[in-house]
Amino acid sequence: MTRRLLTDFEIMILLAIMRVGDDPYGVTIAREIEQTAGRAVQLPAVYVALDRLEKQGLVRSWIGEATPQRGGRAKKHFALTRAGLGSVQDTRDALTALWAEVPGLS
């Protein structure tokens, strides 16, 4: 059966959601990717990817609190679904299998 594997950016986002843990939202997800993976990310791109992942049922979202620093706008929090976690594991397994026994790499 053909599995739909995640792109590198998608798996970074899903892993960042899992790493942040405490009600992650756009800012904390982007910061986690930048600080941990060293990849500069644009917030709009994060939201586009999150929107796509939510349509695929890999993440769920809910509206959080608003703060004055946000101009009174509410946060949108994200969490992995069971399908999202399974997709992360599938992608990890596929990448691990590809990395294994590659000539010239130890």
């Binding site: 959601i17 899992m18 009600d23 939202y25 756009g26 800012v27 644009q42 917030l43 709009p44 791109a45 939201y47 586009v48 939510e54 769920r60 979202s61 809910w62 509206i63 608003a66 703060t67 620093q69 946000r70 101009g71 706008r73 509410a74 946060k75 949108k76 929090h77 969490a79 992995l80 679904t81 069971r82 999202g84 976690l85």
Partner: protein, 214 residues
């Protein structure tokens, strides 16, 4: 508290509206010390990732709103002119010449009437847009149809009052051509909007958090 670049915020509202969470994130990060250049980069990225089709869909929707207002204004103007002329024509049977009573027909009152008509048209168009956001075409047709029926009824009354000398056919021709124009405009303007509905961003309802399965 420092505010984000105003022009960038306006562009974001204009070209990439609807994502309040993103807008809040950008404001939060700017308040946390990100610079104006960073904010501009995010805005440009937001506009870019929205995609040209989504921007085009909004542009068409705005064009539709403008055309809605223009059609409303056209119908109101048509109706106002018609009612004033018919009323004047009827009152002449009583020896009252309404239009001649207006001082300076080509001056102050003419411009005042134009401004009032414009304001009424804008208000009605705004009301149609607000109250019937999903049924603007039906609203225009209902409004236009009612206007034309009223005009036809008024002219029929005028015809009878005149003693049977009918000029109704002229009105039928006039109303028909106006109706055809309106229907043609609506068909031409709204077709692309319907075909692009699926591209619009839809605000989702808040959902309870579901954490990753362990």
């Amino acid at each position: 508290m420092a505010h984000p670049p105003r022009l960038a915020s306006l562009l974001l509202d204009w070209l990439a509206p609807g994502n309040e969470a993103l807008r809040g994130d950008l404001d939060e990060e700017f308040a946390a010390g990100r610079g104006g250049a960073w904010y501009w980069r995010q805005v440009i990225a937001a506009i870019a990732v929205e995609g040209p089709l989504a921007v085009r869909a909004r542009a068409v929707a705005r064009f539709e709103s403008v055309v809605t207002g223009l059609i409303t204004l056209l119908l109101l103007g048509f109706y106002a002119v018609f009612v004033v002329n018919v009323t004047d024509w009827l009152l002449r049977f009583e020896g009252v010449h309404l239009l001649k009573r207006l001082p300076d027909v080509l001056g102050f009152w003419t411009w005042t009437a134009a401004v009032v008509t414009l304001l009424v048209g804008l208000i009605v168009g705004k009301m149609i847009h607000a109250a019937h956001g999903e049924h603007r075409v039906a609203s225009i047709l209902a409004f236009g149809g009612t206007t034309m029926l009223c005009a036809a009824a008024a002219l029929q009354a005028a015809t009878l009052a005149q003693g049977g000398e009918a000029f109704l056919p002229e009105l039928v021709q006039q109303v028909s051509s106006t109706a055809a124009f309106v229907v043609g405009l609506i068909g031409g303007v709204t077709a692309p909007v319907g075909s692009l509905d699926g591209l619009r961003l839809i605000t989702r309802r808040a959902a309870p958090p579901i954490h990753a399965a362990t």
